[in-house]
């Protein structure tokens, strides 16, 4: 039954894809609306949600130690001893992922029907979206590394296709390519990790590997810790690429060029968390290597902090959320890095709820604002878009860590583990706590700039505008869309999004509120649930008392509240903001330009490689190798030219030479052998 989960989206992809490729794309064919393709795609993913739910229920009834469902579909490759099956295996860990992917996926598909309503090629969009779900499900369900890698690269491909969805804008196409290439750098590490695993253990199957490791951080016999560390780090390079960690995070902010539902689904809720999935899946490798753990934790914590600094100054609503995602992913890795895999996974789930909510809310805003994405040109949307406003407020509160919302539980769990676990340290906690304050600050900034205060754009009269704007070409010409609506009507006629879009927002808002209760401190269902797979949470290091836990929790709540309140105060008075910005102009400039990382990469890697390649081609291929070859040609030509003198063209001279040759030969035959 397992195979139905990825199969449904695949079928949806094939239907939509073939219909699009032959029925809609060719010149002169009728363009389809978003309705039918959207319904097909949503139905497909919903069907697989239902199956996932059934599997989950089935797992609930099983004995915790053997909680797994397996299915082998067919043998993929079999060469000598190397044997890979296309097989699925769902256990406690990935059943959560399938639920999130299909559940949140369904909501986002639904939302997309509204959002992409005026797009030119909705068939293509939904085909890609379904293909993505298929690949993502392959990723989390695969029972061995190659199958996981199949999904891993598959989601990368879909990400590429969807970021560059509006490909007529070359910048968006470039962003897609950047995402793919940066992911490929990660995959490079992933591949090396796989090779090393295979050459060390002779298998790539998760279960077999787990059995080799036995229990709790013990290493298989005859395997040196260095090898385990190398494997863990190689695989982590892959995670850096896919889950946008330093130094490979640069693609994710650019990935916002894609349609907003894509940002919500792929670049917030699901694909980017696959790195965390991989690390948790192979937790036995990481627990076996303290070095790798520290690297993961350090990279995670630093990424969380670093991305948060950038997020503070961004003007694009989606860019803020993108950096926020990078930052939150850093949290998750921090959790994994200190051994709290269940905390990491817990944050994946709550993050999927509230970040998807935030992105979809942002999409709704952008939709309502007619493709305006600059938060400095918004403001006062509270009254115009009430449903979006309220749901967005819930999302913001959740990510800020307001107590009793989902983000609070998961983030606090990570913070506590960063402090208390044997591989944690107060420094990691401190960095994470600072980040939490900054998160609260920039999210509130985003929220208040968008929804509160007075509108900072020209408001058009509402008359004659329904929720649905016939003739307004949403998505078409997207790249040049800034102020597109403003051209038609003087000012922007802000409108609330249709129910199709706000309904998923409301569901996600509810989930963002209640989603955290599965991880209630000290009674965490999720930790208990995941224990057979990722191991129990480590006992707190000695000397760390329960009271300290409460104190730290209080500190982080306080930090969040401080962040929120400061932000509200600051951004109520925008002239104050400008004054402050002027005071720290240099810092603001650096942050606004994202620490110039893109420029540095361009200068250090991209340009040199291009220049060097040119050099290789013109300077070596053409100038050296070809010259040698042509040189050989020249030599023989020269020889020919020289010898040619005797080629007089006179038959008689030829005959004479023939005669001379004959004499020579005869002479040799007579005297030569003596």
């Amino acid at each position: 039954m397992l195979f139905w989960i990825p199969l449904f989206p695949l079928i949806g992809f094939l239907i939509n894809g073939i219909w699009y490729a032959f029925g809609q794309a060719p010149a002169g064919r009728k363009k389809a609306g978003a309705g039918l393709p959207g319904a097909i795609a949503t139905g497909a993913i919903f069907a697989s949600f239902v199956v996932s739910l059934m599997i989950f229920i089935q797992l609930l009834g099983q004995d915790p130690e053997h909680r797994a469902v397996e299915q082998i579909l067919f043998n993929w490759m079999s060469v000598g001893k190397f044997h890979v099956d296309v097989a699925f295996r769902i256990d406690a860990l990935n059943t959560l992922f399938t639920l999130v992917i299909t559940g949140v996926g369904t909501l986002i598909h639904l939302y997309s029907i509204g959002y992409m309503g005026h797009d030119e090629t909705p068939g293509k969009f939904f085909a890609y979206l379904n293909l993505f779900c298929f690949a993502m499900l392959m990723l989390v369900m695969g029972s061995s590394l190659p199958v996981l890698f199949l999904g891993w690269e598959g989601v990368g491909l879909c990400s590429y296709l969807l970021i560059g969805y509006w490909y007529t804008d070359i910048e968006k196409a470039k962003a897609g390519k950047k995402a793919f290439v940066v992911n490929r750098i990660g995959d490079f590490g992933f591949l090396l990790g796989m090779f090393l695993i295979y050459s060390t253990f002779g298998t790539l199957d998760f279960e077999s590997l787990r059995h080799l490791f036995g229990h709790a951080g013990s290493l298989p016999e005859g395997v040196s810790p260095q090898v385990i560390t190398a494997i863990s780090l190689f695989l982590f390079v892959g995670c850096m690429g896919k889950s946008a960690q330093i130094p490979l995070y640069v693609w994710l902010p650019d990935a916002m060029a894609g349609p907003t539902p894509v940002s919500a689904l792929i670049h917030a809720a699901t694909m980017v968390t696959s790195g965390i999935y991989l690390v948790s899946r192979l937790n036995f490798f990481y627990t076996g290597s303290p070095t790798a753990m520290s690297v993961v934790a350090a990279v995670g914590a630093f990424t969380a902090f670093f991305a948060a600094t950038i997020a503070i100054t961004q003007r694009d609503i989606k860019k803020v959320l993108a950096y926020s995602t990078v930052s939150q992913l850093g949290y998750m890795f921090l959790g994994c890095g200190v051994g709290a895999f269940s905390a990491g996974v817990f944050h994946v789930i709550t993050h999927a709820f509230f970040k998807a909510l935030l992105f979809l809310g942002a999409g709704s805003v952008i939709h309502g604002m007619h493709e305006e994405q600059d938060i400095w040109k918004m403001g006062g949307l509270k009254s115009k878009m009430p449903r979006t406003y309220w749901t967005f407020a819930v999302g913001t509160a959740a990510i800020c860590g307001v107590p009793l919302l989902s983000g609070f539980f998961s983030k606090d769990e990570i913070l506590w583990k960063a402090f208390s676990s044997p591989s944690g340290s107060p420094w990691l906690w401190f960095l994470a706590a600072i980040t939490a304050v900054m998160t609260a600050f920039y999210m509130t900034r985003l929220f208040s700039l968008t929804f509160l205060g007075a509108p900072r754009f020209e408001v058009a009269e509402h008359a004659g505008h329904s929720h649905d704007h016939p003739g307004h070409d949403h998505g078409h010409d997207h790249g040049h869309g800034h102020g597109h609506g403003a051209k038609k009507v003087k000012g922007i006629a802000v409108h609330e999004s249709p129910l199709l879009m706000t309904l998923p927002l409301m569901i996600l808002a509810v989930l963002s509120i209640v989603g955290g209760y599965v991880g209630w401190p000290h009674a965490s269902w999720i930790e208990h649930w995941l224990e057979p797979v990722v191991g129990g949470g480590h006992e707190a290091a000695s000397g760390v008392s329960e009271s300290l836990e409460w104190i730290l929790m209080g500190v982080s709540v306080l930090g969040a509240l401080i962040g929120i309140l400061t932000s509200f105060r600051v951004y109520r008075n925008l002239s104050l903001v400008e004054a402050m910005t002027r005071n720290v102009q240099w810092l603001h400039k650096i942050l606004e330009n994202k620490w110039y990382i893109d420029e540095i990469y361009e200068a250090v890697f991209v340009r040199p490689i291009q220049v060097f390649s040119q050099l290789l081609w013109k300077g070596f291929d053409v100038a050296v190798i070809d010259r040698i070859v042509v040189g050989f040609g020249r030599v023989s030509q020269w020889t020919g030219e020289t010898v040619r003198v005797i080629q007089t063209g006179s038959l008689q001279v030829y005959a004479l030479m023939l005669l001379a040759g004959l004499i020579g030969t005869a002479g040799f035959l007579i005297y030569g052998w003596h």
Partner: protein, 102 residues
């Protein structure tokens, strides 16, 4: 009266052959060159017949028969070429016919 040794006959053939060869080398008239070639062919024919006689094998004479045929064909084509060439170049001088060179 002594016998004629085979080598005498063969040497005679060689003499005729090299006379023909020299003719090919030193004459500029293409017609004479063709005639010299006929001389060489005849010398070869005689060699064949000599061996045929000496070895009591008729293969030599058969070869001569074929050579004569081929020679006839050759001179027919050769003379045809001479006529064609003469028509184009108004000359039968090999020194003027050096198109092969370029």
């Amino acid at each position: 009266m002594h016998q004629i040794e085979p080598w005498v006959v063969l040497s005679f053939c060689s003499i005729i052959f090299f006379i023909g060869f020299t003719g090919v080398l030193i004459r500029r008239n293409i017609l004479v060159i063709l005639m010299s070639i006929e001389l060489m062919l005849n010398a070869v024919n005689l060699t064949f017949v000599t061996f045929s006689k000496q070895l009591n094998h008729l293969g030599g004479q058969m070869s001569v028969f074929f050579i004569i045929t081929v020679a006839a064909a050759e001179s027919a084509v050769g003379l045809g070429l001479v006529i064609a060439m003469f028509r184009t170049l108004r000359s039968v001088d090999t020194d003027e016919i050096q198109i092969l060179r370029e």
